[in-house]
């Protein structure tokens, strides 16, 4: 296998006495989706927050293309090429779809000193914006204010903002949460398309979706990695069956 784009080694995060993430290691490769599953409270979102720089790890290290990210502020991590989406939709509700995504695209080209130029007048930023909006299929909604869209569309917008920052790593925290069936299908389709030029970590509760789109899976329980491997291996793992999937021998996930 090629070198991982992002790798985490022995990450641990403590909040006082609570250990949210304990000794977790994983690698994300370009062209691969790494699914992370686990019950609520297993530490999946905390893991995302550690990888995205939202939170500093208590111990352990994170490498991006071989370079250790140590004590970097979140905005620097983001600009290096690690983009993330949020479990709870985290957008600018009063702004239009276009402006939401444009702000995300602008982050790479901030140009605070070209203050006499209008924000909408930079061709490169506009182009990236249009591309990201098109990729998630919101082109005909670009002038609508974000709050006026359906929940599913807001989730799509969230992804568009994520890819507009042109990251190499995408950390997707439950992108399917609260989506209807057809919306979810479209999102899975989108993720498998994004896979070609991104290294993706996908946190998801929808088992069908995770198993269908992931190349590699990590199962977390109580902040620890219970098992990791290919979807087939996870599906047949006894440990996973007992601890997480919890159904009898012959039920299928």
């Amino acid at each position: 296998m090629s070198k991982p784009v992002l790798s985490a080694r022995n990450l641990t995060k403590r909040f006082g006495g609570l250990v949210a993430v304990m000794d977790v290691s994983l690698d994300l490769f370009k062209g691969k989706v790494h699914g992370v599953i686990g019950t609520n409270g297993a530490g999946k979102s905390t893991l995302t927050n550690l990888l995205s720089g939202d939170l500093p790890p208590t111990t352990g290290s994170i490498f991006y293309k071989g370079m250790e990210l140590f004590d970097l502020p979140q905005h620097r991590v983001s600009r290096l090429g690690i983009g993330r989406s949020y479990q709870k939709t985290n957008i600018f509700p009063a702004f239009t779809v276009f402006e939401n995504v444009r702000l995300a695209a602008q982050a790479l080209h901030q140009r605070p000193f070209q203050f006499w130029k209008r924000a909408g007048s930079f061709a490169d930023v506009n182009q990236i914006t249009e591309r990201a909006i098109h990729a998630v299929g919101l082109s005909d909604k670009r002038k609508i204010q974000a709050f006026a869209m359906s929940h599913g569309e807001q989730r799509q917008l969230e992804i568009a903002m994520c890819i507009a920052g042109e990251p190499e790593v995408l950390l997707l925290d439950e992108p399917l949460a609260g989506m209807g069936h057809s919306e979810a299908e479209r999102m899975i389709d989108l993720i498998s398309r994004l896979k070609n030029d991104h290294a993706i970590m996908l946190i998801e509760h929808d088992m069908d979706a995770v198993f269908s789109v992931s190349d590699y899976l990590t199962v977390m329980v109580n902040g620890q990695v219970l098992e990791s491997g290919t979807p087939e291996r996870i599906r047949t793992s006894d440990k996973v069956q007992q601890a997480y999937l919890g159904y009898g021998e012959d039920s299928h996930v």
Binding site: H75, S78, F95, L103, A107, Q110, F115, A119
Partner: protein, 322 residues
């Protein structure tokens, strides 16, 4: 940019022309009153940049106003006119410095704490001038002659002339309005807007939020300083009242009155505030009740906040949508 001829644009043009021509027909008292309005308009716009566009409510904005004023006074020789360029640039530099020093600390806090920290810094400056002899203590300090705007002996503008002074401040107001307007439409301005709505997401998108806030705070502080400088030379007098939290609260009220997040709203709010203050504190009109003008002002502001959540400019934008 293309300008359409609408009733609104026409009205604005007429209003601007009238304001520009004001010294040609109005009495000295009114020209000076309107100079004060222009200065407070600049002051209110500077605070609106923070409150309305970045979401930082400061209750210490008078610190910049007062600091620049004291700078104008202390750099004016007693028996001759000072040099405008020297005292003006010194005043603004002090404000930039003060904004950097206090901003680095205050911007580590949020919401109520930010209000309290900015208030505390302004109070420190207040007591420095109030309790020491630097600026004449509680009595304040006079500026006997307005600074001279001259290059190598040739006077460019006679600021002692109340008409020239009016046009000068009018020019500054327009220039600052244009500057802020352009700034807010740029990448920088849009990033500020994003920070106001969702700071966390901006950070996740890759924006160094702190530097954006600090720079906005410095810009707001220096423009507040410009207002304070002109205020000082207009009245020829500076006292600790200029730094007091009343002054900070008044300018905040102007911004709220006009409607936060609207530059012309801030100027409009300042106009209404000062005209109203002038009107209801007029003893020949209201008799002894005039001394309770701040009570009436209070009622007025409560009424505006209750019925016009978008301030007085909300009145017009709602009307134009119909």
């Amino acid at each position: 940019m293309n300008f359409k001829i609408t009733t609104r644009n026409l009205l604005v043009a007429v209003l601007l022309l009238m304001l520009c021509a004001l010294p040609l027909f109005a009495e000295k008292f009114y020209v000076q009153l309107f100079s004060k309005i222009l200065i407070m308009g600049i002051f209110a716009m500077s605070l609106d940049l923070l409150v309305g566009y970045v979401g930082l409510v400061s209750l210490g904005h008078a610190a910049f106003f007062g600091l620049a004023g004291y700078c104008a006074a202390l750099l004016s020789p007693q028996y001759e006119a000072g040099n405008f360029f020297v005292s003006f640039s010194a005043a603004i530099s002090i404000c930039i410095l003060f904004a950097l020093l206090t901003g680095v600390l205050a911007l580590r806090t949020k919401s109520f704490y930010f209000i309290m920290v900015t208030l505390a810094f302004a109070q420190m400056i207040f007591f420095i001038f109030h309790d020491t002899k630097i600026g004449g203590g509680g009595d304040g300090i006079y500026i006997y002659q307005k600074p001279l705007l001259a290059i190598s002996g040739i006077t460019l503008l006679e600021l002692e002339n109340f008409k020239t002074f009016y046009w000068f401040t009018f020019g500054w107001l327009i220039a600052i309005y244009a500057f802020l307007r352009i700034l807010l439409q740029s990448h920088y301005g849009h990033a500020l807007g994003g920070i106001k709505v969702n700071e966390h997401r901006m950070r996740a998108l890759g924006y160094p939020v702190f530097w954006y806030k600090l720079s906005a705070y410095v810009i707001a502080g220096s423009i507040g300083g410009i207002a304070g400088y002109f205020n000082a030379i207009q009245f020829g007098f500076v006292n600790p009242e200029n730094i007091s939290w009343h002054t900070s609260a008044n300018v905040l009220m102007m911004v709220i009155l006009g409607g936060m997040g609207s530059l012309h709203g801030a100027v409009f709010g300042a106009s209404v505030f000062i005209l109203l203050q002038e009107l209801i504190s007029n003893e020949s009109m209201l008799g002894s009740f005039a001394s309770h003008w701040s009570l009436m002002m209070g009622f007025f502001i409560v009424a505006v906040s209750l019925f016009l959540p978008n301030g007085l400019t909300g009145l017009f934008s709602r009307g134009s949508k119909k």
